[in-house]
């Protein structure tokens, strides 16, 4: 009898401010696997969805950037645990999206979980690498500390639906930024499922917001949005026209821009993507009357 059962089709939704709304525009589009077979309908975000996502990300920024690095690390480890628990689901989605064999897709998912854990470990270490005490010619402590830049709009890379996605989202949020992620238009399902993982981990709502749809349509208002502090244009690699348009829009209020480049997502990522979205704060602190009073400093 069980063979007669109709499967329940899943309705994918956006992820914004910890909730799963439909697109404000009410639009959806068909998502197919690599061979063109229909998989599901995904919401096609509009510029107003982008605006709402930025509002959610801005609202979450204070709490997330103010959380201790230790706490952020713990939350991200928890995400990795939840990802591991949904390994089979992600394997199937990655296999369908990228046309990989099951074994190869599983390897991608494993690499993605490992990547997430790797970035989680950086939460309380990046400050030592990117900051530190500067020697200065005066009676001061001079300390530089990296601070998150704010709301980062991320155009997720095309062609690496989970590993590539994790490799651009994790480095943004681990340091305390909040993110508005535009998923790969043709393979958005792993991103929308990742949103479900984030919602059931301890990640506060609004820290990551996931939009599906056309990068050209929602990328432009995000790049031009004056309340977005930085953009990662990873997904615009290979589309010079789009990349240029977004860079020009972002230049209007001098956003930080991580320019698109051909990237091997399986390779060791290094710290570059974390450092791209940090601001250095330098503090001068008097040490007291050094010399004159024979200070012990």
């Amino acid at each position: 009898m069980s063979t007669d059962r109709l499967s329940v089709l899943k309705t994918y939704k956006l992820y914004m401010g910890g909730k799963f709304p439909r697109s404000e525009s009410g639009r959806v589009y068909e998502v197919t696997d690599s061979k063109g077979n229909w998989l599901a309908n995904a919401p096609r975000s509009s510029r107003k969805d982008a605006r709402n996502a930025v509002v959610a990300a801005r609202k979450a920024f204070g709490g997330w950037s103010g959380a201790t690095a230790y706490n952020r690390g713990q939350v991200l480890y928890r995400v990795a645990e939840m990802l591991e628990g949904r390994r089979d689901q992600f394997t199937a989605e990655v296999a369908a999206a990228e046309g990989l064999s099951r074994a190869k897709a599983a390897a991608q998912v494993d690499a993605a979980v490992d990547r997430w854990v790797w970035y989680a470990g950086w939460s309380d270490k990046i400050a030592q690498v990117a900051g530190g005490a500067n020697p200065v010619a005066g009676p001061y402590f001079n300390l530089s500390t990296p601070e998150p830049t704010g709301v980062v709009a991320v155009i997720a890379p095309a062609g690496s639906s989970l590993l590539g996605l994790v490799s651009v989202v994790a480095p943004v949020i681990v340091t305390g930024n909040t993110a508005v992620v535009v998923a790969d238009e043709f393979a958005p399902l792993p991103a929308l499922s990742l949103a479900e993982v984030l919602a059931t981990s301890d990640v506060p709502g609004g820290v990551v917001n996931v939009l599906s749809g056309s990068a050209a349509e929602v990328g432009a208002p995000l790049a031009a949005h004056r309340d977005v502090n930085a953009v990662d244009l990873a997904g615009a690699a290979g589309d010079t026209g789009l990349a240029t348009e977004l860079e020009v829009a972002a230049a209007d209020n001098l956003k930080r821009v991580l320019r698109p480049a051909a990237t091997d997502w399986a390779a060791d990522p290094g710290t570059g993507r974390m450092l791209a979205f940090l601001e250095t704060k330098t503090v001068w602190h008097p040490t007291g009357g050094l010399g004159a009073a024979g200070s012990s400093y």
């Binding site: 605006r51 930025v54 801005r58 208002p221 031009a224 949005h225 004056r226 309340d227 977005v228 209007d252």
Partner: protein
């Protein structure tokens, strides 16, 4: 409905000096006043909520939106009513009143800056020559729990310090226990004390605190009571309780104001206050005013928003319309 009722009473009555002669008899005694207020038609709460919700779905775009945003900005009573207010904070709010958007001098100024009575001299000085009015809350705002002499002294002090408008609170305890004449006489006394020494008078806004009145029927009664007693404006709330201005309770007041003008020929202003934070909220109220009262009330002289955060949201929307780019809180002043 209300109009018919008021007209029926019209030949019987004489009004206090400020109001029309049409309805004066209803305030002749506590019993007459109660009879009149309880004789007002009841509010259909479900219909009212549906009407307010329907008016909230109007889509205002492009040039109409630009017009509405500028109108809404010009209707704001920029408000700071905190125990922690300092002269510096009031001055910075007044600076914002003079130039709401320093990056765009075409942005209109709000109607008034609203402060506590002791801050009126500071605001008066900071706004001199700007055309922005100074409004002051008074009568032991927000609770209103003080002896009448204290409340009147509060009003006189604010007027003497140069307040153009006085926002008083009604005695909700007396209102809810049915002592309408006490509330009426108190409003009338405050109105007398709004007179300036050299002639003229501060405009009087009467705050009901709708959140404490419990029913829409009470909001309608309080509206009529205040208008009979000589209010220039009726105002929803203090902003200090959980429920402040809502589209529904403001709509009751708009209807009361409309019916009062039909009955007496006197036009009264309306001021929703508290809880109006976004441009969308503000446009909803403007749609209600236009649909219920029409053009006559679409001016800062007859309609106000009591708000502080709303101005920034309006300015951000204004910037979006002029630049085509979404703006952010980094581009407006923090007040």
């Amino acid at each position: 409905m209300t109009v018919g009722y008021a007209r029926r009473y019209a030949p019987l009555v004489t009004m206090p000096p400020s109001a029309a002669p049409a309805l004066a008899d209803v305030t002749a005694s506590d019993a007459a006043l109660r009879r009149f207020l309880h004789g007002l038609p009841g509010v259909d709460a479900v219909g009212l909520d549906a009407r307010a919700a329907a008016l909230g779905t109007r889509s205002i775009k492009t040039t109409a939106k630009a017009y509405a945003i500028d109108l809404a900005i010009s209707m704001i009573d920029l408000t700071t009513l905190e125990g922690a207010d300092t002269a510096g904070k009031v001055r910075s709010l007044c600076a914002k009143g003079r130039h709401p958007d320093p990056s765009d001098r075409t942005a209109p100024s709000p109607a008034a800056v609203c402060v506590y009575p002791d801050m009126v001299p500071v605001a008066r000085e900071a706004l001199a020559g700007s055309g922005v009015l100074v409004a002051s809350v008074a009568t032991a705002f927000p609770a209103g729990r003080a002896p009448l002499e204290v409340k009147l002294a509060d009003v006189r002090a604010a007027v003497a310090a140069g307040a153009d408008e006085i926002d008083m609170v009604i005695d909700r305890g007396a209102f809810l226990s049915g002592r309408y004449l006490k509330v009426f006489e108190e409003i009338a006394a405050v109105r007398e004390n709004c007179a300036r020494v050299g002639g003229g008078a501060a405009r009087l806004k009467v705050i009901f605190e709708n959140g404490e009145l419990a029913t829409y029927d009470n909001v309608r009664r309080a509206s009529w009571l205040a208008m009979l007693a000589g209010a220039d404006f009726i105002k929803t709330s203090t902003g200090k309780v959980a429920v402040n201005a809502t589209p529904s309770n403001t709509l009751v007041m708009l209807e009361a104001v409309r019916d009062f003008r039909d009955a007496t020929g006197h036009q009264i202003g309306v001021k929703p206050a508290g809880g109006i934070r976004t441009t969308k909220d503000a446009l909803t109220y403007l749609v209600m005013v236009n649909e219920t009262l029409g053009d006559d009330w679409l001016s800062p002289h007859w309609f106000r928003f009591g708000a502080s955060g709303l101005l920034n949201d309006l300015l951000m929307q204004r910037q979006k319309l002029s630049s085509g780019r979404y703006s952010g809180p980094d581009y407006v002043t923090v007040d």
